[in-house]
């Protein structure tokens, strides 16, 4: 429709002028483009990095989000909020806006053939694009953990279920919001059944359905029955949200889905009273659950170690803070905190060595606490001379 084109142009011009005029903008991510040979088109990609990404060297899990033109903003808000509350780890969010939504998100059926006139059935090609082009682009350009989540709604949910069955290893967890399982005479239900019979290492699956069209509800109920009747041990949850419709269900589903996926991740708020063993046990549990090495966060070890020091448990404090300096060798403050624990324990030479280490590291990393570390070192030198 020529009308659409007009709107687009007007808006783009207006908006680009605006973009250039503002340096006080609040941005939640960047948009960039990659060339897909597989899809033979350019694809827009929206990327939101967690706070502090550029100030450390840590890798992050990645959420891949379909229909990103609609959902990037509010889903980025969820990720930001839940990670600030330590309910989930900080994550990279990668949004994939559509070009030809129907083509990319629907699995092949017997009646459609993917030629240049066809509008559906290209899910396998889209999965190939994800695997060979997008995921590799992201993993080459950003620091990622080997943990990927796919979130899709409606036809995007259909794609998520399809990918779960047919491209199982692409993602570690799948969030399917109101998936369009009515597609192709509900053929996805049978596919899921076969998948669950033949495959035993099954990624996590979270499915929600609202108060919706009859065939939507019926097909999702069938999937629920399949999930209930299968014998594998894997994490899945099926939730009916009776107060939501097909559109309004998205936000709560992503929020609840991430909370569900990361249950057990949150340390009790009194974590600083935990011992190093307890903290490491928690980290091990998370490692087992998510399948890659997860270490206790720097802030947690730091708070726990400092508290032990203040309480006079010097040996335990040294153990925790030593662990922290090993896990975070580039962090000057870690050595300083360990120095404080040594000094409190009366081990002045060890303390001096840690302070000096903190001081040197801070010079190398432009840390703002250089003067503090230097002062600690000089003070302990004085004590040593007495």
């Amino acid at each position: 429709m020529s009308r659409k084109l007009n709107y687009l142009l007007i808006f783009l011009i207006a908006y680009s002028l605006e973009l250039n005029a503002q340096d006080s903008s609040i941005a939640i991510g960047i948009r960039t483009q990659i060339r897909s040979k597989i899809l033979n088109e350019n694809r827009e990609i929206l990327i939101s990095l967690p706070e502090g990404y550029s100030n450390n060297k840590k890798p992050y899990p990645v959420i891949y989000l379909l229909d990103a033109e609609e959902h990037f903003f509010h889903v980025a808000g969820i990720v930001e909020f839940l990670s600030s509350q330590k309910r989930i780890p900080p994550m990279i969010l990668v949004g994939i806006p559509n070009t030809k939504r129907m083509r990319d998100l629907t699995p092949k059926t017997e009646t459609d053939s993917l030629n240049k006139f066809s509008i559906s059935g290209g899910a396998n090609l889209f999965a190939e694009f994800l695997e060979k082009e997008l995921l590799s682009f992201i993993e080459k350009n950003y620091r990622t953990c080997p943990y990927r989540i796919l979130a899709g709604h409606s036809l995007g949910g259909l794609f998520a279920i399809h990918a779960w069955c047919a491209h199982t290893r692409l993602f570690n967890a799948y969030l399917a919001v109101s998936p369009s399982l009515w597609w192709n005479g509900m053929s996805m239900i049978r596919e899921a059944e076969l998948f669950l019979e033949n495959e035993h290492a099954i990624p996590a699956l979270y499915v929600t359905i609202g108060d919706e069209r009859e065939d939507m509800v019926r097909s999702n109920k069938s999937l629920h029955t399949v999930l209930q009747n299968q014998k594998n041990h894997f994490a899945w949850k099926y939730t009916v949200m009776a107060n939501e419709d097909h559109g309004s269900i998205v936000h709560r589903s992503v929020y609840d889905g991430l909370e569900w996926l990361y249950q057990g991740w949150f340390l009790p708020s009194n974590y600083e009273t935990m011992s190093l063993d307890e903290l490491q046990e928690h980290a091990q549990k998370m490692t087992d659950k998510f399948g890659y090495t997860i270490v206790t966060q720097r802030e947690v070890l730091s708070a726990t170690g400092n508290r032990l020091r203040v309480k006079g448990n010097f040996n335990k404090a040294i153990a925790v803070l030593h662990r922290n300096s090993i896990q975070n060798p580039e962090w000057p403050m870690g050595y300083d905190e360990l120095g404080l624990a040594f000094e409190a324990a009366g081990q002045l030479e060890e303390a001096a060595a840690q302070y000096l280490h903190a001081f040197k590291k801070s010079l190398a990393t432009d840390d703002p606490n250089t003067a503090l570390f230097r002062q600690h070192w000089m003070d302990v030198q004085k004590r040593l001379k007495k």
Binding site: Y7, Y15, R31, H74, G77
Partner: protein
């Protein structure tokens, strides 16, 4: 013109980038005002809804305390819920802290509370005399203001509701620190509602699984509110699974949904008759206390839905009503033009397109191009 389509297109435009390899995804802007009352510069984070750029409409304003922490996820909620037509699009003004305790806590009689507290009334003055006038003169605002605060911010919301009720129409108070000053706000509430016949405000407040003092003081508040005027809409919710921190997002989402629970037109809205629509307007006006111009979009949608179902005569009637309700909006005439054109009343259609063009030109509406195109097309059809 069909506004719902418009919106989709705007979102595409957000995503499409022809100008640079990488560009930022922008959700708002940072600005600041100098406050004489507080004698300091205050940063502000501003979110304007997409419709702010595509229409000339005015919008309700959400004032959000602890702005730095909550701006992104709260604006995400606004953006999502308004796109679902669950709430109107809103402007968000988020206020980051300078001295949080000073600004958000009411004065106490004893000075043994947190020492730097007690200036909530001055902070309310800042809203009344500086911030709200600044926002109202800078942006197209509706006279409907919502205050959202958490913890001390929640305390400030209650305090302001009782002490300066004229400032805000609605409040979401999350895990409010009502223990402050030996439950000073609860004592105030009792006196405040004594002999009060009417209190046209909306209040949603929540408490999580928290300290005893927190939970009990909020429960005490809800008990007092039980004997308040009937026109005071309020709801208290205990969110068992949330902590003092994690409660914020769900409280904002649920609070907005509850406040606006009758906002969305019924699913079968396209079968609504004119009296239904008029009754709906009346109800919303009574609840929120002012005329909602964002309802223009809804009536517009009803008109297009009727057209889509081939009920052209009804569509004309509904869209004509919109031109009476919102005579200054160029788009309502363009929409009516389309319905009239579909009805074969080409002369009438041309007149309405022309009004749209004229009004659009006067206010620099970017859609004027479209209105002109419609006008030209119908003139061609008329053979002139």
């Amino acid at each position: 013109m069909k506004l719902f389509h418009w919106l989709n297109i705007v979102f595409y435009a957000f995503a499409i980038n022809l100008f640079a390899q990488k560009s930022p995804v922008i959700i708002g802007e940072r600005t600041c005002v100098f406050s004489k009352i507080l004698n300091e510069e205050r940063a502000l984070l501003i979110y304007l809804p997409p419709q702010y750029f595509t229409t000339k409409a005015s919008f309700p304003v959400m004032y959000l305390l602890d702005g730095e922490e909550h701006f992104h996820h709260a604006t995400g909620v606004i953006e999502f819920l308004s796109r679902q037509n669950k709430i109107p699009p809103m402007i968000v003004v988020a206020i980051p802290n300078t001295q949080r305790t000073r600004d958000l806590t009411p004065k106490t009689e004893s000075d043994d509370e947190v020492s730097e507290g007690g200036s909530a009334d001055r902070f309310a003055d800042f809203f009344a005399n500086e911030l709200i006038p600044y926002v109202d003169s800078t942006y197209r605002t509706q006279p409907f203001r919502l205050l959202i605060g958490h913890s001390f911010g929640g305390l400030f919301a209650f305090h302001t509701m009782f002490n300066r009720p004229e400032l805000f129409n609605a409040f979401i108070s999350i895990s409010a620190s009502l223990w402050w000053d030996n439950r000073g706000e609860i004592r105030k509430a009792e006196n405040f509602f004594k002999d009060r016949k009417s209190f046209l405000k909306i209040l949603y407040f929540t408490i999580g699984n928290e300290g005893d003092d927190m939970v009990k003081s909020n429960e005490a508040m809800s008990k007092i509110l039980k004997s308040t005027p009937k026109d005071f809409y309020w709801k208290f919710t205990i969110l068992e699974k949330e902590s003092h921190g994690s409660i914020v997002h769900r409280s904002i989402y649920d609070g907005l949904e509850w406040m606006y629970r009758n906002w969305r037109l019924p699913e079968n809205f396209e079968s609504m008759s004119m009296p239904d629509i008029e009754a709906y307007y009346k109800k919303m006006k009574a609840k929120f206390g002012y005329e909602y111009t964002t309802l223009e979009a809804m009536t517009n949608a009803v008109g297009y839905a009727l057209m889509g179902k081939g009920k052209i005569a009804q569509a004309v009637e509904v869209l004509k009503y919109n031109t009476i309700q919102f005579p200054d909006s160029p788009n309502v005439y363009d929409s009516l033009g389309e319905a009239l054109e579909a009805a074969g009343q080409l002369d009438q259609a041309a007149i309405n397109y022309l009004i749209a063009v004229e009004l659009g030109t006067a206010v620099n509406d970017p859609n004027t191009v479209i209105f002109r195109l419609h006008y030209n097309n119908v003139m061609k059809k008329l053979g002139q």
